[in-house]
């Protein structure tokens, strides 16, 4: 794969991922990961201090599906949506099958009351398998690094 093809392929994954979340297609979310994929939300402060505490952690697609099930059926939170913006994606090849990607994100949260505000900013640190079991690139690991140590009210929907 040429550098350009690689860039297009990875950015397409990142774009499809955020559209799925922003369109409330959470059931599609686990499919962006390999079966034993890892999803972790951490704060930049804990990361810099070498402290492992996650805000959210899934170590398999099954755990991602549990998160979605819980959000749909158990957890109680006020109606809200996100709008993601993902930019400045840098890609490094690990081997012929995988790459590392780093990108910036901003998430606006839109509440049912009409309140619309910046909810989170940060970086995605990704390890991506270029040809996953769906024929598309999939995340082996996606670490969401929140710039802020504080979250407003709650973080229900994944980032």
């Amino acid at each position: 794969m040429s550098d350009i093809e690689l860039q297009v392929s990875v950015e397409s994954l990142l774009a499809r991922y955020v559209h799925a979340i922003d369109d409330d297609r959470l059931e599609d979310w686990p499919g962006f990961f390999v079966d034993q994929g890892i999803y972790r939300i951490v704060t930049a402060e804990n990361l810099e201090r070498g402290l492992p505490l996650p805000v959210m952690l899934a170590e398999s697609r099954a755990m991602l599906r549990d998160r979605v099930n819980s959000l749909r059926r158990a957890n109680v939170y006020e109606a809200q949506r996100y709008r993601h913006s993902v930019t400045a994606t840098l890609i490094d090849r690990i081997d012929s099958a995988r790459v590392r990607a780093t990108s910036n994100f901003m998430v606006v949260r839109i509440m049912r009351t009409g309140e619309s505000a910046l909810f989170a900013s940060g970086r995605y640190l990704d390890r991506i398998l270029l040809k996953g079991d769906n024929g598309q690139p999939q995340f082996e690991e996606r670490v969401v690094v929140l710039d802020s140590r504080a979250v407003d009210t709650l973080l229900a929907i994944p980032i």
Partner: protein, 411 residues
């Protein structure tokens, strides 16, 4: 006392009614700062493990007042107001760090690790010009020093000489349950905050409300983690403002309600695909799977399976508050135990399967009561008692919070 405050009288029903002005009145907020946070109460400052070494410090708050918790060269803990003696700037500007001394950035006045003023820049002027008069006493406006007492590695501070020693303030029925969690040296796994759009007391109401656990947090019920039919109880301690709510491992021998709930959840056909999340070990060895403990005004100690944390609620104005979570394990933890605690961290914090609703619910109350300062909540689960209870279908510890609060506030 503000004019608004003077018109406030508590409902005649007593502790079974909490008037909504308690969450809304700026005059009351100021009085809380004075009588509670700067008054006769212990505020949690941090884990000793957060400032383990000489020179370690962290910044925190006692009410609105910024505070530094530090450890000096001899290993002694100090807490002092983060306010420069000169013109009042913050002295320490990081969340945590290690220092030999502190220098205020504004005009470079310096402080030692106990918060004592040690230097005034250009005190004698420059080249014989300027400087302070010989009899000036810049230390007269020094940052205040707090009394610091540590209990099982939990550091508390108070400005008042009248606050009873921490162990007496906790009460033995609370202290014993702190000891069971803080049983050995701890190591910090990380920290984060949650910002709430509600008065700080609404969060403490929520923490002390054992009635809501299985009703609001459906994750509990759905996965049968905690139902009120499980063995457990509520302990009220101190002057009412301290509490413990706990539940025991389900032995499968509970009665009729259990059967009913089981029926409902099996109809629901809802289970975890990856139940490893809930794989827990009884590390304390007493069968208690969940213990939530609070100390007036704003401290919480949590054991939810193997997820251990301290939480501290910090008021940020009448309708805002910050909840600081610090999750920890024991120094003796092996890699498997640490991995287990990190997995179970999914249960708590802003994205917690069983805690995300709390900040939402308390915000709903703040918004719901906006037009009704003179109406009141109805808190009669368990009658009007402020006492320990074997049932968790009670609001006894909520009433205890208000008993303690009214005592401090003289309302």
């Amino acid at each position: 006392m503000s004019a608004i405050l003077a018109s406030r009288t508590w409902p005649k029903e007593g502790l079974t009614r909490v008037p909504y002005w308690v969450y809304q009145d700026p005059g009351l907020y100021e009085r809380e700062q004075e009588r509670i946070f700067r008054g006769d109460a212990w505020t949690f400052l941090g884990l000793e493990a957060e400032v383990a070494n000489p020179g370690d410090y962290k910044t925190t708050f006692v009410g609105d007042m910024p505070v530094v918790l530090s450890r000096d060269e001899a290993g002694v803990l100090h807490a002092w107001e983060n306010r420069c003696a000169h013109r009042g700037a913050l002295i320490a500007l990081r969340n945590q760090g290690n220092a030999r001394e502190f220098a205020c950035v504004y005009h470079n006045w310096t402080y030692d690790l106990s918060g004592t003023l040690t230097g005034v820049a250009f005190r004698r002027g420059v080249g014989g010009q300027g400087g302070m008069p010989a009899d000036a006493n810049p230390a007269s406006q020094s940052p205040r020093k707090l009394r610091v007492e540590s209990y099982c590695g939990l550091a508390f501070g108070t400005l008042s000489t009248r606050t009873p020693p921490i162990e007496a303030y906790l009460g033995e029925n609370i202290a014993v349950r702190i000891r069971r969690v803080m049983k050995e040296p701890v190591k910090v796994l990380g920290s984060y905050s949650q910002m709430f759009s509600n008065n700080w007391k609404l969060y403490m109401d929520n923490v002390k409300d054992s009635y809501h656990a299985s009703l609001l947090h459906l994750f509990f019920t759905t996965f049968r983690l905690n139902r009120l039919s499980q063995k457990g109880g509520v302990v009220v301690g101190g002057d009412g403002g301290n509490h413990v709510s706990y539940s025991m491992r389900d032995t499968g021998t509970a009665g009729e309600e259990y059967a009913r709930e089981k029926l409902r959840s099996s109809n629901d056909a809802f289970g975890l695909e990856a139940p490893g999340l809930l794989e827990a070990v009884d590390e304390i060895g007493d069968g208690i799977t969940l213990q939530i403990l609070s100390v007036f005004p704003g401290f919480v100690l949590q054991q939810i399976f193997n997820s251990l944390a301290v939480r501290q609620i910090i008021p940020k104005g009448v309708g805002r508050s910050e909840l600081v979570w610090t999750c920890f394990g024991y120094e003796s933890d092996d890699a498997a135990m640490t991995a287990r605690r990190l997995r179970q961290a999914n249960l708590v914090g802003p994205a917690g399967f069983i805690s995300m609703e709390d900040g939402a619910a308390t915000g709903f109350v703040q918004r719901g009561v906006a037009g009704s300062p003179d109406r009141a909540s109805f808190i009669e689960m368990g009658g009007d008692a402020v006492a320990s209870s074997e049932s968790r279908v009670t609001e006894t510890s909520v009433r205890g919070l208000w008993k303690s609060w009214r005592g401090h506030m003289g309302i």
